[in-house]
């Protein structure tokens, strides 16, 4: 790689940047010899490793996932290295059963609940950060950065301990607060309470990202806008809705979109806390695909569920995805 760039001489250099898209080299051998051809090839050579990695390590698994989803691949076929095609049977079985649709609905509600809480909490804390004095802001920043930096699996073990049935702090606090039936409550015994712990965990870890970035965004709002608003007789609320909010809107869209993706595909939190239990009741789509595909060793079925999961994710994010892509194309 270095050889290619090294050969580029000083005088001709700016031409590469300013002269629009150069014609792609026609004859590779001749192009490599002439300086102009070498310059034209340089960006592609620089990008080659990244492209190769993306194709082999991301593109290939995606294609492989599609191929597997049309196969009957159970332990027998796996061990004997058999390839048994079964057309769209996997999809038929999945889509006609009620399990899959329950999991889809559960995943959507789960994602929505998390994202609403994260965005509300993150925005409020971000605005609070903007309003605090220097010392208090630093204190709160240190607090949320610690929560943010906490590794997921370490956090899940800590939450298991916080919500432990015996000697867990949460049950102790609830008991002391007068809710005595919670003294020995088993949080991982029911669907709703398990989801409650998972949601507290995810929201706790995700709010810092939103809050810190939102706070950073507020610092870029020009002061003049607020002065103009107050000259026009705007109160605190009015200047918030007419200055702060419009300024933060694109940022809020972007963060919501990212959080939807992150929450929807969250795996470690749910799996490490309770493995999708009790009784498969907290399985969201990624966990469902894993349990069916790997746990029950129906790899073809698992691949089909994975494929459908990606489709659901695309459907949920399509509106925003289209908007971003269009915007990027315009800007680049």
């Amino acid at each position: 790689m270095s050889v290619q760039t090294e050969g580029t001489d000083t005088a001709g250099e700016p031409a590469v940047r300013k002269a629009g898209p150069p014609a792609p080299p026609r004859g590779e051998t001749r192009a490599a010899k002439s300086p102009a051809g070498r310059r034209a090839a340089a960006p592609y050579l620089l990008l080659l490793p990244a492209l190769l990695a993306t194709v082999v390590l991301l593109g290939w698994p995606l294609v492989k996932n599609g191929i597997l989803s049309f196969q009957n691949l159970n332990p027998r076929q796996l061990i004997q290295h058999l390839t048994e095609w079964n057309g769209v049977d996997n999809y038929k079985e999945i889509l006609s059963g009620s399990d899959f649709w329950h999991v889809v609905a559960r995943s959507v509600v789960f994602t929505a609940a998390n994202v609403v809480l994260i965005m509300l909490g993150g925005t409020l804390i971000g605005l609070l950060l903007a309003r605090l004095g220097k010392k208090m802001r630093l204190l709160l920043l240190v607090g949320i950065v610690l929560a943010w930096a906490m590794p997921v699996i370490a956090a899940t073990t800590v939450y298991q301990w916080l919500f432990a049935q015996r000697f867990g702090v949460v049950n102790w606090v609830l008991d002391k607060a007068g809710w005595h039936s919670m003294a020995d409550y088993n949080w991982f015994g029911s669907q709703f309470s398990t989801f409650f712990v998972v949601i507290v965990l995810i929201v706790w870890q995700s709010i810092p990202f939103v809050a810190i970035n939102l706070y950073a965004a507020t610092t870029t709002i020009p002061r003049e806008l607020y002065e103009a608003a107050s000259l026009d007789g705007a109160g605190a609320w009015k200047s918030f809705t007419s200055v702060t909010l419009p300024f933060l809107r694109p940022f809020l869209y972007a963060t919501t979109f990212l959080e939807v993706i992150w929450v929807f595909k969250s795996f470690a939190q749910i799996f490490a806390l309770n493995e999708g239990g009790p009784d498969h009741l907290t399985e969201t789509l990624p966990i469902y695909a894993y349990v069916e595909g790997v746990g029950n060793q129906h790899f073809g079925m698992g691949a089909a569920i994975s494929f459908l999961t990606i489709l659901v994710l695309l459907a949920i994010t399509s509106y925003y995805l289209r908007m971003v892509l269009k915007q990027e194309e315009d800007e680049l």
Partner: protein, 276 residues
């Protein structure tokens, strides 16, 4: 603008409450790890490790395979971060400084790749790795972790490269440097904070990764810390002291790195550019 006493107090009060709420789980992890078992298993919680002990840490460290797992985690994390940084540096330079056909398409590709749902691709990856007889090996983990962080690394570094004034590079070339020398001598030092900030993200991702190692490496000798930690509680029964000590040991490098690198990453770039 004058605010009422109430208006001045409530933000600070809320900040303190929030601080406690966010920090408590982290605090409780460390506090529990240092408390003797008698202070952990009590009807009323002991809020501070008055009788601090290292017993739980000893137990965690002396657990079977602990040091193998630490080595595995360190090897996989460091090599995947370095791998993705090197690949990304080339790509970022091309995307930031050169105009060529297909540039937009590539940037969009990396943006999409950044959102790849790895968690639901593990079955296909398992099959690919198995077909190549690479199960129970650190190599697939390393390359896939590198790929997981590659798109964001490219996009972030592209921003850092673009932020280095072109004039610095050009004046170096006027002084007789080739473009490659200009890159090594002028741009690269200015990129150091950018590289640090980007590697922070890579470190966190690779150090924490769980689903892929869960499915690929069944041999305990080839596993990494997150997988071990997720099973620690089951393996040790309800020994919360040891579990929290293990969690603390696992979380500490990231917490330190985060605090250390974040400050460096922010201050470095502006200093360098002005002085340069």
């Amino acid at each position: 603008m004058k605010r009422s006493a109430f208006g001045r107090i409530w933000p600070n009060a809320t900040a303190v409450v929030l601080f406690v709420g966010f920090v408590f789980p982290v605090y409780w992890m460390f506090a529990t790890a240092f408390k003797p078992t008698g202070d952990i298993i009590t009807e009323d919680p002991v809020w501070f490790p008055y009788h601090a002990t290292l017993d739980h840490f000893k137990k965690a460290v002396h657990a079977d395979h602990f040091w193998t797992l630490v080595a595995n985690s360190v090897i996989v994390t460091v090599s995947s971060v370095l791998l993705s940084l090197v690949i990304a540096l080339f790509a970022a330079f091309a995307l930031a400084r050169m105009r060529f056909k297909g540039r937009r398409g590539l940037i969009v590709t990396f943006m999409l790749a950044q959102m790849a749902p790895w968690e639901v691709m593990i079955i296909a990856i398992y099959m690919l790795v198995r077909d190549n007889d690479m199960l129970d090996s650190l190599v697939p983990l390393t390359v896939f972790y590198a790929m997981m962080v590659l798109p964001l690394t490219i996009l972030t570094l592209r921003g850092y490269v673009a932020a280095v004034p072109k004039e610095l590079e050009e004046s170096a070339m006027v002084d007789g440097c080739t473009r490659f020398q200009a890159f090594v001598k002028v741009i690269f030092p200015l990129l150091a904070p950018g590289l640090m900030a980007t590697s922070l993200f890579g470190f966190i991702t690779a150090w924490n990764e769980f689903p892929l190692v869960l499915i690929l490496n069944k041999d305990i000798e080839k596993q990494t810390l997150p997988l071990w930690l997720s099973q620690f509680q089951t393996a040790f029964g309800d020994d919360w002291g040891a579990t929290m000590a293990a969690s603390s040991l696992f979380a500490l490098p990231i917490l330190i790195l985060f605090i250390f690198l974040q400050r460096k990453a922010v201050s470095g770039l502006t200093d360098g550019a002005v002085k340069g």
